[in-house]
Symmetry: C2
Subunit: 296 residues, 2 copies
């Protein structure tokens, strides 16, 4: 069995994206540890691209892949976005933005198994990244959408985490509610030729310390500046900034666990009925043990 895996690793290293895809399936399966045991840990750059549905994440990923291919980097794209136009390594739908990369052996595009499978994203994504690094990919791009939890998980492994929004308040409010502004390393206002883009930039400046860039991904406007901002982020990042982001991530993940606390509904009903005050309920929530072990 392990012999099969070793052959797949050799084939993938020799440029077989099909072998790489099979290995990715294996790290999402119960054979994950068998695969990981054969691989040495290799550092790799990980970009996180997140934001609300329709913000233009896939288009942004496509233009970034083009930019990094020009630099000669081998790029893997892991899509955690259920609305993303990729599935199982193949492209789906009529809004295909990655056509330029389909036959490029230097680009691997792959959907990641759904949440909840084998420990969810928290376990699946780091394992996939470790595999891709060992297969000599230079850059892994993680694309995700969700209600907060999955983006925060991605932010925990990506550097930088890039939050893509559209002009107008809607996307910004949604990102703020999800805690995304706290974990963003770069904020990108895509479709920046639309009305209100400058106002959105101004509104967000008061709410995040991250650099805010304008982009028209579909036309390629602003891509060079985005790539430069990614480089600048990596040059300028400091332990203090990484700690601040880690703090936001930890709190967000803790909040997600609390939201699933088995006592929460009962406590909320008691508070609503005047039985206990919300302080006592909060203390109780933090004092009672949560479900034993699985990631929230």
């Amino acid at each position: 069995m392990t012999g099969d895996i070793a052959e797949l690793v050799d084939a993938a290293r020799n440029g077989s994206t099909r072998a790489a895809g099979r290995l990715l399936s294996l790290v999402e399966s119960t054979r994950r540890d068998e695969v990981l045991a054969l691989l040495s840990a290799t550092p790799v750059q990980v970009l996180g691209i997140t934001g609300p549905p329709g913000a233009g994440k896939s288009t942004t990923v496509a233009v970034l892949v083009t930019a990094y291919r020009r630099r000669g980097l081998r790029v893997a794209v892991l899509a955690v976005d259920p609305s993303s136009p990729y599935s199982g390594g193949a492209l789906l739908g009529d809004r295909i933005r990655m056509t330029a990369h389909i036959n490029d052996p230097g680009v691997l595009i792959r959907s990641v198994a759904a949440r909840g499978h084998l420990g969810g994203l928290a376990a699946a994504v780091p394992a996939a990244i470790r595999l891709l690094a060992a297969l000599s990919y230079d850059l892994v791009v993680l694309e995700t959408v969700g209600v907060g939890q999955s983006e925060i998980e991605i932010a925990a492994v990506a550097d930088p985490t890039i939050v893509i929004l559209n002009p107008g308040a809607g996307d910004a409010i949604q990102a703020a509610k999800a805690g995304l502004l706290e974990v963003a390393d770069l904020v990108v206002i895509n479709k920046a030729d639309r009305d209100g883009a400058d106002q959105t930039v101004r509104d967000l400046r008061a709410e995040t310390h991250a650099p805010i860039l304008k982009l028209i991904a579909a036309q390629g406007d602003g891509v060079d500046e985005l790539v430069e901002a990614i480089d600048a982020h990596r040059r300028a990042d400091t332990p203090a900034r990484r700690s601040a982001r880690a703090r936001a991530q930890i709190l967000s993940l803790a909040q997600s666990r609390l939201q699933q606390h088995p006592d929460l509904d009962r406590l909320a009903e008691s508070v609503a009925a005047g039985g206990i005050d919300p302080y006592a309920a909060a203390v109780s929530l933090l004092t009672e043990p949560t479900a034993p072990s699985s990631p929230a």
Copy 2:
């Protein structure tokens, strides 16, 4: 000593706002329990008015007080907003909106002691409300501003909690970050004659289930509709809605406590340095006991 308090209670019930003010000072002092022991619990309507600085909370409070005075209600205003133009029962500053009510014995205006004093707002505000109810005030208006924590505390005792925002994305993003949209019973877009008010209403509709009203408080436009919405809220509120708000309040208060957890900075540094993953850190944060008892 307790005899003095009984005399003050009599004087306050007979219409002395000065005596009422002295009693409010006492419930913020170490003599709180002495005062509360003399009072029977009386139900009272509590309105919470919150929102970012400059949104027009004080102006809104002033027009609401006028409206409820017309109904013959005795109204007490407790200002927890450090930027509010009231202090120690007197009015300060040149932006005085409550002049119409200064000499009205049916209106009491009072600042509440700063946070951290005798258990903070969480302890001081319910005690003050209980006092005001016993002194035959029919309505207590709580006005607050802050970075989330104080508004959530107010939301826990007020019904309805009214969030005042201005047109544009800035206020809405700030309210979303603070978790205010989750605990709002009514959202009011004040200064609704400014550009973008309708767009702000549309943007917010996607992010909250609370009714959204437009107001021009300085001109009195929309006040009748706001008073009617407050009445409607009280008629239509259900245990399920109250539980949902209590849930948001509990989670917000729990999050505040976690933000002050003594291990958080150490865990964040460890995650940033790659020592542990953010999941393990979140679990550790929830498993380790927090500081013993005082409200966060």
